[in-house]
């Protein structure tokens, strides 16, 4: 870890001024990703701006019936919050499917969105990487790519975003609230993270001088029919090979509204509005679910070690939808406990 200077701020505007002053400064909150990246020499900030004491750690109702999650709330406090568990159980389950208890106690909501990919080549400064050093190349495309993207990748980068929380946020159509030198703005979740294209070094559309202040959840949280299904190499404390956040609004056996977001398959949580729309007004049958799953993975491209993800994702979509439907039919809300673990 290179040496750096340290500043602690207690005011959001001051934090924004501080980041604008120094192009090599970075914010630090939970630190669980940036300190690791600094130890690996992937991140080399000369100044860290400690934002942990900013007043952004509350969870409160929004005027339109939604819920505002402070950017500095920890992942653990968010997942175990009464309102989140009751109104947005999909988000709670997704958060608890990620990392470990210790990391969830440290990591913040804002930081979860901004965490970098865990691509081996991005982390290994002895290898090229277009995300770390633009123009140097992508060894993953012809190398070890078992964990990599099958959707939305480019010839420059096939990394995936590693978050579980973000997959649920994408499905719930959260709004990311940010503040910068020009004031505040709200970014719809679908426009927050980016596909790699020819600028894989840019993960998202947050400006360098902007700070995330909160994440707003809309009023509809799909508490009656949801599932977060995470498939991974071990039962706990591993990144997803494929994950599915599924949320349904049902009218008897008919689907009135459907949300599906995939993790582990792309540079951002993957949603396909056209494919989702195939479910609207349809009966909740395995056949219809398979149809949507096929549509979701249209255009998927596998590489030497990850082609299995395409069929795996289809099966995971079907299973997650089945689980989302069944929870009410069985009158057993606890059924969702099994949705976090592949068995």
């Amino acid at each position: 870890m290179i040496n750096f200077s340290y500043v602690r701020t207690t005011d959001v505007s001051e934090a924004v001024r501080e980041i604008a002053l120094d192009p090599s400064a970075r914010f630090i909150a939970g630190g669980t990703n940036i300190i690791d990246l600094m130890k690996e020499n992937v991140a080399r900030p000369t100044r860290l701006i400690d934002i942990t004491r900013l007043p952004l750690n509350r969870i409160e109702d929004t005027p339109d019936g939604g819920l505002r999650l402070g950017a500095l709330c920890t992942n653990a406090d968010t997942a175990y919050d009464d309102q989140v568990q009751r109104r947005y159980p999909l988000l709670s389950k997704a958060i608890l499917a990620g990392a470990s208890a210790q990391l969830r106690n440290m990591a913040t909501n804002g930081g979860n969105l901004l965490q970098r990919t865990r691509c081996y080549y991005f982390y290994d400064t002895g290898t090229p990487c277009n995300k770390r050093e633009p123009g140097s190349g992508c060894p993953a495309i012809s190398g070890l790519n078992r964990l990599h993207a099958v959707l939305g990748a480019s010839e420059h980068c096939i990394a995936v975003h590693p978050s579980d929380m973000c997959v649920a946020l994408a499905a719930l159509q959260a709004i990311v609230r940010v503040q910068g030198p020009q004031g505040e703005r709200a970014i719809p979740y679908a426009e927050f993270q980016r596909l790699p294209g020819d600028t894989p070094q840019i993960d998202n559309n947050l400006g360098r001088e902007e700070i995330i202040t909160a994440i707003d959840l809309p009023a509809q949280g799909y508490p009656d029919h949801y599932a977060y299904l995470k498939v991974r190499d071990r039962t706990s404390y591993a990144f997803a090979l494929v994950s599915v956040a599924a949320a349904l609004e049902m009218d008897g056996d008919t689907i009135r509204d459907a949300r599906i977001a995939l993790g582990g398959v792309a540079h951002k949580p993957w949603r396909d509005n056209d494919a989702e729309a195939l479910l609207i007004g349809q009966a909740a049958t395995d056949q219809n679910f398979r149809c949507v799953a096929d549509a979701y993975m249209r255009g998927a491209r596998g590489y030497a070690h990850n082609t299995f993800k395409i069929e795996l994702a289809k099966l995971a979509i079907v299973r997650a939808l089945v689980q989302a439907v069944r929870m009410e039919r069985n009158g057993d809300k606890q059924l969702h406990r099994t949705t976090t673990e592949p068995r």
């Binding site: 870890m1 040496n3 602690r8 005011d11 505007s13 175990y80 470990s100 208890a101 210790q102 440290m106």
Partner: protein, 172 residues
């Protein structure tokens, strides 16, 4: 509003004074910004009970309690914990009396080499305090951030389950 904006606490010098309540004792220290809590404990304060395993937040050997919550000291900058209460494995016993979790680990033979044990015990103490675990599966899931290369997991789970059940009995 003509008052000047509050001045940020800025570190330009290489060391900054901080105060930690370390296992109950207020401790004044001067730390460099890049010193992790783990390195501060082990290298500066000779408190080597907390272990450095991977140093990348993957193994849990460095788990300590900050303001009662379990965190990874290898991914924690000491300077950011100014004013915090830190509890390490050295601070769990009361005089010569071991913490119930330490005693349970001995009774259940919940270790072989012992390197992961301080982190396991700190993590387990926090798990009980969090009150989210009800079953053995819950314990397994909520202890997944602590790896044991010797594979003593069945005995670790048994030790934690015993402490959990006794805590539940006492609270009835």
């Amino acid at each position: 509003m003509n008052e000047p904006a509050p001045r940020a606490l800025t570190t330009l010098a290489s060391k900054t004074a901080i105060t930690l309540t370390l296992n109950g004792s207020d401790t004044q220290l001067e730390v460099e910004p890049w010193t992790t809590l783990l390195d501060l404990l082990r290298e500066r304060l000779d408190m080597t009970g907390t272990k450095k395993g991977c140093d990348h937040g993957q193994c849990g050997a460095c788990t300590v309690l900050v303001n009662g919550k379990r965190v990874l000291s290898c991914l924690t900058l000491a300077i950011m914990q100014d004013g915090a209460a830190i509890t390490t494995i050295e601070g769990l016993c009361t005089g010569d009396t071991l913490h119930a979790m330490q005693q349970a680990f001995i009774e259940h033979d919940a270790l072989q080499c012992g390197y992961c044990t301080p982190g396991q015990i700190c993590s387990a103490v926090a798990l009980i305090a969090e009150g989210k675990a009800r079953t053995r599966d819950d314990i397994r899931e909520l202890m997944s951030g602590n790896l044991c290369r010797c594979g003593a997991y069945p005995n670790i789970i048994a030790a934690i389950e015993q402490v959990m059940q006794r805590a539940e009995q006492q609270s009835r």
